[in-house]
Symmetry: C2
Subunit: 439 residues, 2 copies
Amino acid sequence: MEAVDQIINAKWIITGDENNPILEDHALVIHNGKIKDILPINKISENYNSDSIQNFSSHAFLPGFINAHTHLSMNYFRGLADDLALMDWLNNHIWPAERKWVSEEFVSDASQFAMAEMIRSGTTCFNDMYFFLSATADAADKAGIRGCIGMTVIDFPTAWAKDPDDYIAKGLEFFQAYKNHPRITPTFAPHAPYTVADSTLLKIKELAQTHHLKINMHIHETADEIHQALAATQMRPLKRLQKLGLISPQLIAIHMTQINDEDLQILEAERPQIVHCPESNMKLASGVCPVEKFKTLKLNVALGTDGAASNNDLDMLGEMRSAAFLAKLSTHDSTSLSALEAINMATMNGAKALGLDNTIGSLSMNKSADFIAIHLDEIETLPLYHPVSQIVYAASRQQVTDVWVAGKQLMKNRELLTLDEKELITKAKSWQKKLSNLA
Amino acid sequence: MEAVDQIINAKWIITGDENNPILEDHALVIHNGKIKDILPINKISENYNSDSIQNFSSHAFLPGFINAHTHLSMNYFRGLADDLALMDWLNNHIWPAERKWVSEEFVSDASQFAMAEMIRSGTTCFNDMYFFLSATADAADKAGIRGCIGMTVIDFPTAWAKDPDDYIAKGLEFFQAYKNHPRITPTFAPHAPYTVADSTLLKIKELAQTHHLKINMHIHETADEIHQALAATQMRPLKRLQKLGLISPQLIAIHMTQINDEDLQILEAERPQIVHCPESNMKLASGVCPVEKFKTLKLNVALGTDGAASNNDLDMLGEMRSAAFLAKLSTHDSTSLSALEAINMATMNGAKALGLDNTIGSLSMNKSADFIAIHLDEIETLPLYHPVSQIVYAASRQQVTDVWVAGKQLMKNRELLTLDEKELITKAKSWQKKLSNLA
């Protein structure tokens, strides 16, 4: 009989473990921030006791969602400019707003606000790309959430840095400060093939190898990107990146909606991580990431929301559903991307993409205790024949009731424990007033 | 100074009126179940008083959503069988379940359950097609919701009727009993071109003309339907229906994902109502209803969820978002189907399709007081630059707080006033036990 930190009795556990994906009436045993054991509830009392025992008799437990592509601070631009053509949206709305308002304070406030939205919808780990990195990292530290933070590099000046060398220098300074943080993982994030020159990409490749860092990049997001690259370089962007030696399992290739047979050969040979952002790709009319083709090549495909200016939320439950719908529609096959595959995409595949699959992504012994509870005993998710179907096709984010990261509870019965919801709303409204003249 | 039943002070009113779509700080004046006036809040006290004044300082008010295609009783089959090929799903799961379980009692319980889900997500009017019509009508009568109820006709026997004449006889009996109900409108509902013979369709056409009834039909839902029709009749289904004289503004053509130029000519000439069901069409891999092409022809396109077995919810907020995403994706144009157009599709266009646009569909003087409140002062819908954007692209169904139909409040601050939520959940679980052996 062993004393442990927490025992959580669950109606269902969706483990993320291929051999044993769905357990009924099992308990999670949590100790020192890790999953110490998973066993039938009726075996608990023979093995463990705890001062903290919680019962969830009508909830499903899952690994926390991993949002593999975010621009958290763009939450403050949510709904600023919708239903516009991409370049109108960027040139006349998003970029002017960023030039005028993005600052350390903006990023700190907006990131915390986005973290509240993520925790409230069951996301326990994000993969961000933005500016003023330590403001986001400090917000994550305070919120208790886990995150990868991209050291953005881009050829033109922003409020954050003046040129590629300045971006890299600021990124490395951030890397040195946060590299040992238990929940924060720095990555490199050259923005896109069309905004970062070859020489800079080569520098980033070398630094990423030296420091064992993942490289995030928006790649093949739109047809225009391909046309412009062909006109400028006579190569598709993936080909150019391959020639530079940038495509490898260390690369996280985001969007990837424009994929021809030549691209597929490169991907099959070099095996980068892929992040699918179905809702952003639909809303901006970018195209469809061919996840079923990637599945055939056994490539790892994770799931991301993109920023809230082009989605307009950070809701991974909705994103899984959209991913399943879009896969079925685009392959003309209703068996494409099943509910369980969608959950894996939002959990284990995200962990693999970020190189964190030894720590998170499934509810397995000795992994970090990052998990969520979804209440299924509601009008919208009854009758309940298969919990996985109800989670992907019927549940909504407000049914996420409780969230833990590294064993620490961040939300309890819809109440945020590490962030002050009222204060976040007040701050968001104050920024709204400032930004309204751009809307 | 006039005494009225209710005064409702709203932060925003999305009226559905083309000339004045969004009002800020206005009040709805309700009397005898109708909208008597809409005026600025600061003018109320000069004109009206009431014993019932409610203030909604951070809510948007909209006409209640009109779900233009439902099979309400299929809510009890939600999640029974997902991610399957269409014919496997129908032949091995849905039809066996229907044969075994559909009854007066099943329809009564399942319809009430679906109505609870609809009211909880802001739907005030539905357009149903199923069996045991009076069970659904009685449920609607009790729930206080508005609905059109389709007199289903299909060539094969079901638990409801044994042959086409029997379906028609039972339908007409229903029509006579409910034709004067203030909130229930009977329609004809021959199931689909491939399940109803020409002779039956001609009978239905004549009866519909005699009794001034709309005719609902699933049309051009899948590519298979077209192939089989061409093989059997050497005509596409729309052509056959045109020859039979069935296509007119009285026809409500549901799905319509397979549309070529010949079809467009028929539609332009005959001008039926169209119902778009984006999520069902995606989930079943049926195809894309070309709403932007229909817009060019100025055809009326309404929005529906289809049944919860192929969606898997009755959430019109989610459906609007999916409709906007799908339009943008399929036209490669991010300006397609704006947020306001999506709201109109879910409100006024639905009213037009059902022939109820003199009564419902917009918040206009003398129309029925069918409207809803959505709370926007939440993490997920802030900052708030444009309420319409937040409603379509960021809000979720749980933010619908209050619902009225014909001036009667059906939900108050998320509490159902005409239905017993606990009892509905108990009944759903009891049916779940019976149906589980088919899952």
